[in-house]
């Protein structure tokens, strides 16, 4: 499968049709979807309609857009008008949103072709895609391993060459962790850079939509297409979106890159070795490496697993059997709501709703949620101090390569620990990118993570490109 960059060029020039590109994408989905469980829904009809229109516009000499004819996979917590959207939950089974998420409108305006909806951990809660009500997704690189999560289906779609581009959402690492486990580029943009309108909320102060791709340039193209102010999202940044593709080859010469001990300690040896090699590659390209310790990052996990469930318990209160999705008929309205939620939500979602409800309940609010919000402040301040000494930060994305199915499902805390390196950026609302670099146990890819201050996407992509070239 070609890169998005190549496909868009070929479709726009007329040397390849959008419909033939789509055929290849659908063939790849047909070949492996039963085995890997990547797509929950494939919209063949809608995709063909979009591709046919693009071919007609090219034939008329129109400029279709920067993603002309490029198939794209959407995580199934992104709303697309009339297309089933489940969040991998039984509580939304059969629901068809009456509107498009802003990112879907922007993809269509850029000439992209949405082909379908990908599997995720239910309501994006998880790190392995094992929490889906519709079965786990398998890692295309080794089907006995998880693809990571929660955007595991989107990562698998790109890794299995089903689509060159996919969108995921990242609340505590849900784009970067699966990207690392599937050998992809995965980026969580600055909070507010991409509109959340039409993203079904998990934790509203942490959620952000971003790209999963095979190349840095494709990630830059996809992020450029979806970024920018949106009046439908009151937390959308007002500034014009940054120019990204033009800066992908800016390099890292003269940049100070901080190697953060707390973003490496505790990782497996193979992962640590890859981070060390990444350090050498960045040095050879002219960067200065500064060794830093940011102890506050260790507290991030504790704060996150109170803040995110607290917000989730509030956001998920809307699933009550009244306006959409499942309803279990039962006595009065309260009994109906309780029966609906009990039948509709899976175990991990219930666990987090319970945790969040507890953290917000009278008598415990100050001790748990209130304390976590203060630790969030400490994390943000710690980032700011680190950026006085370094332009960007470097560490591992995840503590290990892709793990076996079932290895962490019985112990939620063990699963939560796989997010330890990715959480700080969400708490601070700052961007970070995972780049495949080297391989580890069982020949599986290892990911290194670059973190930057707010709106440093262009610098992060340029540094990621240096690693991409060095990784060969």
């Amino acid at each position: 499968v070609n890169s998005a960059e190549q496909i868009a060029r070929d479709v726009q020039s007329g040397s390849m049709s959008a419909t033939s590109v789509l055929e290849m994408s659908l063939d790849a989905i047909r070949a492996r979807n039963a085995e890997l469980n990547v797509f929950l829904y494939v919209d063949e009809e809608g995709a063909f309609e979009a591709a046919t229109k693009i071919d007609a516009r090219v034939a008329h000499g129109e400029n279709v857009g920067p993603l002309a004819g490029v198939p794209v996979a959407l995580k199934d917590n992104l709303c697309q008008d009339g297309i089933p959207t489940t969040c991998s939950s039984k509580i939304l089974e059969g629901w068809r949103p009456p509107y498009n998420a802003t990112v879907v409108d922007r993809l269509l305006a850029a000439g992209a072709v949405p082909v379908g909806k990908t599997n995720l951990d239910e309501f994006a809660m998880g790190s392995s895609t094992e929490n889906s009500a519709f079965g786990p997704t398998r890692n295309p690189l080794n089907p006995s391993r998880v693809p990571g999560g929660s955007s595991g289906g989107s990562a698998a779609a790109v890794a299995a060459d089903m689509t060159p581009l996919a969108l995921g959402s990242d609340t505590g690492g849900s784009i970067r962790q699966p990207a690392a486990l599937c050998g992809l580029i995965g980026m969580k943009p600055s909070y507010g850079l991409v509109s959340r309108y039409g993203l079904i909320a998990f934790a509203s102060s942490l959620d952000q939509i971003g790209p999963l791709t095979k190349s840095v340039t494709d990630a830059a193209m996809l992020l450029e297409a979806i970024a920018g102010h949106d009046a439908m999202d009151s937390t959308s940044l007002p500034e014009p979106p940054p120019s990204l593709v033009a800066h992908v080859n800016d390099g890292v010469a003269g940049k100070r890159i901080g190697l953060v001990r707390e973003l490496v300690d505790g990782a497996d040896e193979d992962v640590v070795a890859s981070v060390e090699r990444a350090v050498e590659a960045l040095k050879e390209s002219g960067a200065t490496i500064v060794e830093l310790s940011v102890p506050e990052f260790r507290l991030g996990l504790s704060a996150y697993y109170l803040i995110a469930p607290a917000e989730a318990s509030s956001n998920l209160a809307r699933f009550d059997g009244v306006r959409y999705g499942l309803r279990v008929a039962e006595g009065d309205v309260t009994a109906m709501m309780e029966a609906t939620r009990t039948a509709g939500f899976g175990e991990e979602v219930k666990r987090r709703i319970m945790l969040g409800t507890y953290a917000l309940s009278a008598g415990y609010y100050d001790a748990y949620y209130g304390q976590a919000l203060k630790v969030r402040t400490l994390t943000i301040d710690a980032f700011a101090r680190a950026y006085q000494q370094a332009d960007l930060l470097l560490g591992a994305t995840t503590p290990s390569v892709a793990f076996e199915f079932g290895s962490k499902t019985s112990n939620p805390m063990a699963m939560y620990l796989s997010d330890v390196f990715t959480i700080p950026s969400n708490l601070a609302g700052e961007p970070a990118i995972s780049v495949p670099f080297g391989t580890g146990e069982a020949g599986l890819p290892t990911g290194v993570q670059l973190l930057g201050p707010g709106r440093s996407e262009a610098q992060l992509l340029a540094a990621a490109r240096v690693l991409e070239i060095a990784n060969g």
Binding site: W95, R96, P98, Y99, Y191, G192, S205, A231, S234, T235, R298, L299, L301, S302, A303, Y305, L306, S313, D320, V322, R323, Y324, G325, L326, R327, E330, G331, V333, T334, A335, M336, E338, R341, T342, F345, E347, K350, R351, I353, M354, L355, T357, Y358, S361, Y368, G370, Q371, A372, L373, K374, V375, R376, T377, I380, P412, M413, Y416, A428, G429, E430
Partner: protein
């Protein structure tokens, strides 16, 4: 834990209550590292930006299609969401 389940509108079995009691305890124990900190002078952050009210002109704008929205409801009556009885019989 049973009280929290009631607040969250979830019915948990005895087995689930036991499991969640243990697992939530583990998460809260991990979070106890925060209790050792002196955070009295730290300001809480609930959101990455200082949120300010976003205002817009009071213009009529298109909104979601009423029929499409109601079509997705589990139960509807006269173009409105229908729910089981909320109030009891009049005395």
């Amino acid at each position: 834990v049973a009280h929290v389940a009631k607040l969250a509108r979830l019915t948990l079995s005895e087995a689930e209550l036991d499991l969640f009691t243990e697992q939530l305890g583990q998460v809260l124990e991990h979070a106890s590292d925060m209790n050792a900190l002196d955070l009295d002078d730290v300001v809480a952050t609930a959101h990455p930006f200082g949120l300010v009210n976003v205002l817009r002109d009071d213009d009529v704008r298109p909104c979601l299609d009423h029929d499409k929205v109601i079509a997705m409801a589990p139960d509807a009556q006269d173009g409105r969401f229908a729910v089981p009885r909320i109030l009891g019989e009049a005395p």
